[in-house]
Amino acid sequence: MAVATQGASSGINSQNTRTLLRVSILFLIAAAAVASRLFSVIRFESIIHEFDPWFNFRATKYLVANGFYKFWDWFDDRTWHPLGRVTGGTLYPGLMVTSGVIYHALRALTVPVDIRNICVLLAPAFSGLTAYAAYLLTNEMTTSSSAGLLAAAFMGITPGYISRSVAGSYDNEAIAIFLLVFTFYLWIKALKLGSMLWGALCALFYGYMVASWGGYAFITCLLPLHAFVLIGMGRFSNRLYVSYTTWYALGTIASMQIPFVGFLPVKTSEHMPALGIFGLVQLVGLLQYVRSSMSAKQFQTFVITVLVGAVGIGLAGLVGLTSLGYIAPWSGRFYSLWDTGYAKIHIPIIASVSEHQPTAWPAFFFDLNMLIWLFPAGVYLLFQDLRDEHVFVVVYALFGSYFAGVMVRLMLTLTPIVCVSAAIAASQILDTYLSAKKPNLEEVTDAGATDAKPAKKSGLRVSSKPNVGIFTFVSKALVVGGMVVYLLMFVSHCTWVTSNAYSSPSVVLASRMPDGSQHIIDDYREAYQWLRQNTKEDAKIMSWWDYGYQIGGMADRPTLVDNNTWNNTHIATVGKAMSSSEEVSYPIMRQHEVDYVLVVFGGLLGYSGDDINKFLWMVRIAEGIWPEEVKERNFFTSRGEYRVDAEATDTMKNSLMYKMSYYNYHSLFPAGQTVDRVRGARLPDQGPVLNTIEEAYTTENWIIRIYKVKDLDNVGRDLAAAASFDRGQKKKASKKKGPRVLRVD
């Protein structure tokens, strides 16, 4: 790819040939972008990945089956039992509608296609478009013809973006990153031309973005910030006025059409910068106008009056409305971006998600490879000219890297700008060193004498001297050779990362047999299929929220909680049921009409993403609501260790989660050799005893274990007594053994 782009910039003269080359290179880049995302389909199969995509897939199927208006009013009674969810009003419909439209369009063209395949392949298809959008955006920044193509190539294959857009990763980000980059392109275009048409287009795509992803707030904050910085630099112009006003007015109206967003754009604080800058732009525009028709003295008094008045009224209004409660405080997820300690203390449910953790440096390098050090270089190069659009890149780069540092997930929003500025740096180097022209020594000295003047006062110090070019072939060969090596390594790095790290569906796991052949572990689907075939249509399944969407999507059974974590209390209820003893959990499960409980256990296989490892978050979230009944401290030994073996605390051993995970586990091993391979712990030979639930199904590798909640005893005993009677123990013994141990906490 790198070689191809260099070809485009070297000396082919005809305009038509260049265009043809450019189009074919862009097509090749798009093809490479799509192809590199197909690893998962080739390795595994055409399957929806992970967690959230299963909900999106289910919603899309509903949309395709029932039509748009039913989808809009969809009340889903099969999730969040017994509450249900107003799904139509609490989702971003952009993704589902996009695939629905594609589906119907293909049907109209009589292409027989399955909605699942559209969903699986949507993200790769849009990645091709994203590469094109990156090309357009970069071309606005520089005159170098190769920069745009390099940016498109980077964007197409960089792992930072592939991580969220492999085939099967049917999530909002699949289309949102394209919309993000394209909206930025339209904004730059509108700003450059001062055109209302481009501004309206920008608003239109902004509206599409709002319909697609909660990350739209990034645009909502970045564009006003750009405008603000420009005004602060004294670069207010009518172009800025027209483009910003058009975007804000139309974009806000467009965003309010989404039921989930509704009146948030005029209420919540994360939309306030946009509103405030809108006011500021009007004010500055007014001042500009007045200045042209007033004497300087009068104007000064006027400015002071207007400024003091406007700022005073604005501040008072903001404070007043906030204190009266009309304007919501920062939403938790957003707030945790600024005050980094906030989430840990106040909202464990946000802190518990691994995507919301801060980013260590290896993650940056892993996702961006060589681009990470070309990125600052590119930003620096933009300071040479520092036109309005370059200011945008600088502002974006600063905020993008801050946000990416705070939250792993926001690496995604940083990636486009990294690609753009790295491409600018790389193309500048390549353009300089690939030029066949050799500077003439005498000309150089002449030019040095005459050109010393135009060095701009405000420019960078490095660019104050005239550009003469590279003299020797050796220099050119060395630098170009180096760049080619780095670019080739970048391509192999991206391929390696994509195939190794980002192409696992996580529903299906792959492992290697001793002889090197691939072994597929398909326990998730096995369990979900079992639920689908062996339980009643409306059997309620209780599991930790991570698996809610998958159970809904694959097993088609109602769940108590799922990945749309809108109700913290309900999640804490499940956490409490999991972390309490059976006596406490059973009434909770009865109240919520739970029929089956599903746990994920990786001890046999060494699968570390299991429920015992997530258990502390269940405890913490439950503790947030019931601090007297669930205490994190009790799950740690007196030495502060989190253990599962014989040394585990009584609270731990009696918790429902522990019992369900290790029930009967010792029977797999010879006496004294029961081992949990994830935590490397040797377990006692006496396994836990279950009274109120019974094992219903355990998958091949024990990854999923399903338990049935027992009905009330038909002769009125409590279930512990009934269970111990069934085990053939005398009543006395059971009394001693059962409840007393269990009430320790």
Binding site: T340, G341, P358, T359, A360, W361, P362, A363, F364, F365, F366, I372, W373, L374, F375, P376, A377, V379, Y380, L381, F383, L386, V394, A397, L398, S401, A404, G405, V406, A425, Q428, I429, T432, L441, V444, T445, S458, G459, L460, R461, V462, S463, K465, P466, N467, V468, G469, I470, F471, T472, V474, S475, L478, V479, G482, M489, S492, W496, N500, R633
Partner: protein
């Protein structure tokens, strides 16, 4: 000593039962009157006994602490002001004593025997004595102990804990005193800063307008963020750590963690690499002398290559299976 302490505790018990002879209501009024003048009340061995004696129709929160510098109790020092705020705002918000709650502090120096008799090894300990008589009586007269494991708690946190122990009674909210010095200092610094800016503006203005300054600020910030500084800030990672064999390890051996020193090394590497790229792209083509230019290309290109190879070798420490490398750090 042992004999002495047991004697003492017996005498304490006796003192407590004598005190209990008084009607509990009368006791509460007396203690409450005392706490109105200064809250929390400083207790000693005898007053502790009478406060916590068994038949009581009020609740008491008693902080057992060791403020003396000799004990070096960090937690005591940091929690004491919070407890004072809690006690003050509670008593102020509940002048009539409707919640029937008292706040007391027993320092180790004043009540060594109590510590011994309770078998306390650590401080601070916050005990809550629920009422044993009256409408809110509980069955067990034993105090409830506050859990200090999560570091020094805020007054609000303890207030919420107390509120949970005291259902159906008023819970006066925390009112922190306005920190006048901080406000005056803040206003003063603000005004001073503004006047300094105004007077120095002829000198500052060129700096503010200098593109070089802004470029370097932006680059430094970007480098700080992309080298994982926010991770250090949030996770409070150590600067460096021992490797278990007496040496020092500068790089954490896992993909998900890092040390403070490590991020600085990485930031420096990124910065140098970026600087090499900038030099190659902008500075070198502007060198008018072809010999100097040749040397500059060799130097910058060489540094770039070697540092990138070094960066890859560091990355292989973090990610064991990473297959790519460049000479010389293979």
């Amino acid at each position: 000593m042992r004999l002495l302490s047991s004697l003492l505790s017996v005498s304490l018990l006796l003192a407590g039962s004598f005190a209990a002879k008084k009607t509990p209501t009368g006791r509460f009024d007396e203690f409450h009157a005392k706490s109105l003048s200064s809250s929390p009340v400083k207790l000693a061995t005898s007053s502790y006994g009478s406060w916590t004696a068994a038949p009581r129709d009020y609740s008491a929160a008693v902080l057992l602490t060791a403020m003396d510098a000799r004990f070096g109790c960090q937690l005591c020092q940091s929690f004491q002001p919070e407890f004072d705020i809690l006690a003050k705002s509670w008593v102020k918000g509940d002048k009539a004593g409707k919640s029937r709650t008292l706040f007391g502090v027993l320092d180790f120096a004043d009540g060594r025997d109590i510590f011994v008799s309770l078998g306390l090894q650590t401080a601070p300990v916050l005990l809550f004595f629920p009422p044993t008589e009256g409408p809110h009586a509980v069955a067990s007269p034993d105090p409830i102990r506050y859990d200090f494991t999560a570091g020094p708690p805020s007054a609000e946190h303890v207030q919420a804990w107390l509120a949970r122990q005291l259902p159906d009674r008023p819970h006066p909210p925390i009112k922190r005193p306005i920190n006048w010095t901080a406000w005056i200092m803040g206003v003063g610094i603000f005004a001073g800063g503004i006047s300094l800016l105004v007077t120095a503006s002829p000198y500052l203005w060129p700096i503010v307008q200098s593109r070089n300054v802004w470029a370097s600020i932006s680059l430094i910030l970007i480098l700080v963020f992309i080298s994982g500084h926010m991770f250090n800030h949030i996770r409070k990672v150590p600067y460096i750590a021992g490797d278990g064999k007496g040496g020092i390890s500068y790089f954490a051996g896992s993909f998900q963690s890092q040390f403070g020193m490590e991020t600085q090394v990485i930031a420096a590497i990124y910065g140098t690499l970026a600087f090499c790229a900038i030099s190659l792209a902008v500075k070198v083509p502007r060198i008018a002398d072809y010999r100097t230019q040749q040397v500059a290309v060799l130097a910058w290109g060489g540094v770039l290559f070697i540092l990138y190879s070094f960066l890859l070798s560091i990355f292989r420490i973090k990610n064991g299976g990473y297959p790519f490398s460049l000479p010389p750090f293979m």
